[in-house]
Each structure stands twice: as C-alpha cells, then as structure tokens.
Symmetry: C2
Subunit: 358 residues, 2 copies
C-alpha cells in the first residue's frame, strides 16, 4: 500500500512576521484562498490516499494546530517529534512506524508548505513515481524543471534516462544552493533540476539505505523495533529522539546512495521559502505589485508585496521592490533584496521585545 508522510515541523522564519514560532508558515492561509498551506497539501493528495494513509511528522508544539487544520486525519497519524532534528531522523522514524503497520509499504514524503499550481500533473508525477519504485526499487526524488537561475534552491544533476520510465533519470549529484553565475550555468546546461524535497521509495529500501549510509541513526531507531505503532512508541521516541544526529536526508542518504533517481516534473512549483519566491509565484497587479489578502491603495509603488492581515486598509506611496507584511503582532517594511536579513532581525526583535513577537 501507499503511504504519504507530510513533514510539517518547520518554522519558516524567513516569513516573519507572518510566520512565527507558534504559528509557522504551513498553518497560514498564505495566498488568501481560505485554506492553509498544510490544508492545500492534503487537499492535493487526497485523490491518491485516504486519510488513514496520510501521516504527519511535526514538532509536538504544533499537534493541536494540525488537529484543528486537519480534523479528518486520525490522531494516531500525527508523529510528534520531541526535538527539532532536521529531516533524516524524521524520515527514519516515519519509515519505522509505517513498516510496523505494513512491511510492504511504499512512502511518499512531501513538505507541508510548498505551492503547486498544476495539481493534476503533480498527482500524475507521484503516481508514476510510485509505480517506478514499486517495480524497480531505488530512492526517487522529484526534480522540478527550473524556470530560471534561482539561487534559493538546491539543484540535482541528472545523467542517463531510465528506459521504460518517462522522465526518470539516474542522479549524478546533489548540489548546494549555488551562486548566481553557477545557477545560470546549471540552467543553461539543461542537466539540472531543482531539489523540491519530495521523495518516493519503498519503506524497506529507505530503511536499508539508513542502515548502509546512516548506521547510527538506523541503530538508534532500530532499538524501537516492536514498539512502533504500539502504545510504547511515544515513550520510546521521546527518549531516543533528542540523541539523533540533526542532519538532512539529502546529506545523510541521498548524496551517498548509489540507487538514487530523479523524476522530472513541471508542476508550477514554489517552495514559498522566501518573500521573493512568493513574489515570483503570486499574481501581480498592473504595477507588478503582489497584494495578498489586503486592501491596498498604491501610488508609484512597483514590484512590492503587500500582506497585511486584518481589516486595516493600506495606503502606500513610492515603494519599489518592498515587502510590507503585517500581523496582529508586528509590521515589517523591508526591501525584498534584504530579506535574507530577516532572520537576524527576528533575533533582534526577540532580544529587544520578547519571544512573543517571533
């Protein structure tokens, strides 16, 4: 059977003040659609999976919000991490949990806070990916056809196509976020895809890979054999999870394994990881401004994002390439090109005004 694992423990602090520790990005109705990014993620896969086969791995601080956003998902399907340890421990736990339920399981790992415009194409990609790993095994990642030399994403270099599986190629290398020059050469070469953090594999194959390439993590979670999907699981995980190495699945497994494949996808994807990414994705007015859920009157503004919560109206003049974002706790006015600095601003805010604002 096929299982979906949604990773939704992140904070998305670059979207401050919209996102903050107690209300991360995945819980926001970012695009004003009436559904949070998490809800949109679940809506998108529901044609492929019943709620019983959708699992959420999150920080325990967010369990209540998840149940509120997703009342249809069984409470037992929420795996609450007692500590933040990046994606490798998160996936290792989910694989062990699902293997205990179904040793023949195939897993699809998805982030909770990305945007996908072409949902039908996305589902077709996932279905074909499931067929591929069920037939041939291997660790499959979904790679996004680049629409430009974006320096905010990691890139996947691909090699030979796999015969009989359209769009599936062997992976040559994973790369870090490149500088602009490198990103341009990646895109021009036609040999690179964006790493979207979406994975498909048989549970048995990923557990094998952990044993080979991340043996300590495998051994740590292996101590729980017999406890997963039982009443003993929570206590066990709460005890061992903090000891797990904090490392991404890309570093721990994907960059090392020799059976890694990528399926190319053109699905209107954005990780919405930055205000710039949101700006690129969202519809624009005639002055190239993006207005999200806000009542805004602009005069001489260009290329700016306005995301102002609440009933308040906004009058803005002369802003070029700015972010104007406001919640009930904070107002941010910042050039889009300086958004990398938002993380450090958030730290200053915390030390000056207190944690409730971040």
């Amino acid at each position: 059977m096929n299982y979906f694992v949604i990773m939704c423990g992140g904070v998305g602090s670059r979207f401050w003040p919209f996102s903050r520790n107690e209300r991360p990005k995945q819980f926001l109705d970012f695009l004003g659609t009436g559904r949070s990014l998490l809800q949109m993620t679940i809506d998108r896969i529901r044609p492929l999976a019943d709620p019983e086969r959708i699992f959420l791995v999150t920080n325990e601080a967010y369990v209540d919000q998840i149940r509120e956003h997703l009342p249809e998902i069984p409470a037992d399907n929420i795996l609450a991490e007692p500590a933040r340890r990046n994606t490798a421990p998160c996936i290792c736990w989910a694989a062990n949990h699902i293997a205990a339920l179904d040793p023949e399981a195939t897993m699809v790992i998805l982030p909770a806070d990305h945007l996908i415009i072409r949902e039908e194409e996305f589902r077709r990609t996932v279905s074909e990916g499931i067929d591929f790993v069920n037939a041939d095994g291997g660790l499959l990642t979904i790679g996004i056809k680049p629409t430009g030399p974006n320096t905010g994403y990691g890139y996947i270099q691909f090699g030979d196509a796999v015969e009989g599986w359209p769009g599936v190629m062997r992976v040559t290398a994973f790369t870090e976020k490149p500088n602009l020059e490198l990103a341009k050469s990646f895109v021009e070469s036609g040999e690179f895809l964006w790493n979207a953090g979406m994975f498909i594999w048989r549970t048995a194959d990923i557990l094998d890979a952990f044993r080979t390439y991340a043996p300590e993590t495998a051994a740590l979670f292996g101590q729980g054999t017999g406890k997963y999907a039982t009443a003993d699981e929570t206590d066990f995980v709460n005890e061992i999870y903090p000891q797990a190495e904090s490392i991404s699945v890309d570093y721990a497994i994907m960059e090392k394994a020799d059976n890694v494949f990528v399926k190319s996808a053109d699905i209107g994807w954005s990780d919405l990881g930055t205000w710039n990414a949101l700006y690129e994705t969202a519809p624009k007015d005639r002055d190239a401004n993006v207005i999200i859920k806000s009542r805004v009157l602009t005069e001489g503004c260009r290329g700016s994002v306005f995301a102002v919560e609440g009933d308040r109206i906004v009058v803005a003049s002369g802003l070029e390439n700015y972010i104007v974002a406001q919640t009930d706790r904070a107002l941010l006015i910042c050039p889009l090109e300086k958004e990398q600095e938002i993380r450090s601003v958030v730290n200053s805010v915390a030390s000056r005004f207190g944690d409730k604002y971040i």
Copy 2:
C-alpha cells in the same frame, strides 16, 4: 473680564490616518504625552483663566469628545456649529455669545491643535496682548518669529512699532503661503512673522469690525440679539448658521481693517499642520528618525516618522524620509515630501473603501 475661545472644529485631514473625520487631530495624544492636543491647549491657558471663561467652538459632531476630554469645562461653554463655515462665522458667534454674558469682555482666540513649547513665554505674550487691547483697542494677532523659510504658513508683514508696548507693531500686510523663494526673502528681510491664527481683542471691537468689513455676517448674527446665552440660542444658531458665508477671519476682517496690530512672539510654536511640521518639532533618534508612541526597530532608515498605534512592533529597513503611520483602521507608508498628496489619497480611500476609513 478675559475670555478664551478655542477653535476646535477642524479635521486635520493631512494627518490621516491618525486624524480622521470622527477623530480629528485635536483629540489625539499626538506626541505621546498622555494628553491630547486639545487638553494641552487648555492646560496651557488654565493659569490665565478659570474653566467658566473658556469657550470651545466646534462642530456638533465633536461635542461628546470635547466633554470627555475636558470634563472641567461647563457644558454651556461648548458652542456647537451645525455646519462647517471657516473661522469668521465661528468668531462672530463666539463674540456675540460672550458679549451677551459680559459687554466689557476681552477675547483671546486660540486654535486647539497647535504645539507650543515655551508655555511661560506664551502666557506672558497673551497677558501683555490683553493689556494692550484693553488700553488701546485694536485687533491684535500673535505673530511667530520665523525659524526658517517655511512655505506651509501665512506671513504677516509688520511696520512701525507701537510705543510703550514692547513687541507690538502695526501690520502692513497679511500674505498667503509663499513659495520657497519668497519665503526666503520674507525671512531675510526681518519684517515678517508667521501667522499663527491667534487673536486678541475686545469683544466690542471685533463686533464693530464685523459690522464694517463683513456686514452680511454681522447682520446675520445680529438677528440673534437677545437670544445669545439664553435657551433660544441653539435653535437660532442652527437656523442661521448654514446661511453664513464660509470665510476665514483673516480674509473677512484682518486683511481689511485699519487697526490691526501684531505682537511678536518666540514661543516654540508649530501648527503641527503636517507630518513635516511634526517631524521638525519632535525629538529624533541618532538616525534622525522620529518615533512616536511606537516600538520600532530600524535598520538603514533615516529622517522618517514612525507613528504606529497599538501593541504591534515595527521593523523597518531602508526607508529614507518616510512617514509610517498606523491606526486601527489604516496604515500609511508615504514619502514625507509627498504629504501634500495625502488629502487626495484620503478622498480615494473614501470612494474605494468607504467613509469609515477617513
């Protein structure tokens, strides 16, 4: 006896969104002192007058707010205009009302929404002005020594000094707001003062002047003789007030009369008529920003005004010479140099979002 008349019927729409129709500037605690501009105006004159001799002329829409701000002023001392008709009808009514109470009265007319830093000096100026008009008659205006070539104020040209009354001169001309070149030559000449809209005269003298220079206004209000300061006054005024010509006392009387004097004053005055005026007046941080009642973290901001109501914190980057003003209804982000356009913006806001926002 001396009577003080505070004109407080204006809207101050250039301070939108802080000021709006239902909450004009005079009712705002603009500088974060804990007292509204109106309260500060009354506080300033209280050493010179008991509450019984302080009158407020306002639009009837603001009567409740005035009573709330000034519980010590007798309710009968609030003269509620049924229509907006500029300062000449307002002053003519007040003069008739006070003449009915005390035919020997001397009146001091003051705006409700100006800032005066040197209050002792202000009170000394007013006291000496009262002495002057009580001794010699005439229409006295208080003129402010210019601190620079401000183009936002009207100017008063003075001529001969009046012997025996330090700082009192004959007025040669009233001028409109000048352009910058003209303003510079005014200031350099040393013959001009700023028109602060503050007047001192015997009630009998201003009523004489109305009869001579604004006979229609005088006649209209003259119909009420015998009704002022009685139970019949309100009905009478409500009936005739809308018929009054809408004109300032400067145009109607001061520019025409031949017994007009000015007393020069150096009292740390600003009409707070614009965000720029407020900026000039208020204390600044090390980056020359003015932070009013707001918790603001700035990075690379200079010469900007931040006035953000409520608990919300503000993080701003890269703003130079901007206004950032927010209330529970609206957020304004606008270059200080464009503040003249705020009035037209307010009109657009009204037509697009409704009157409750202006």
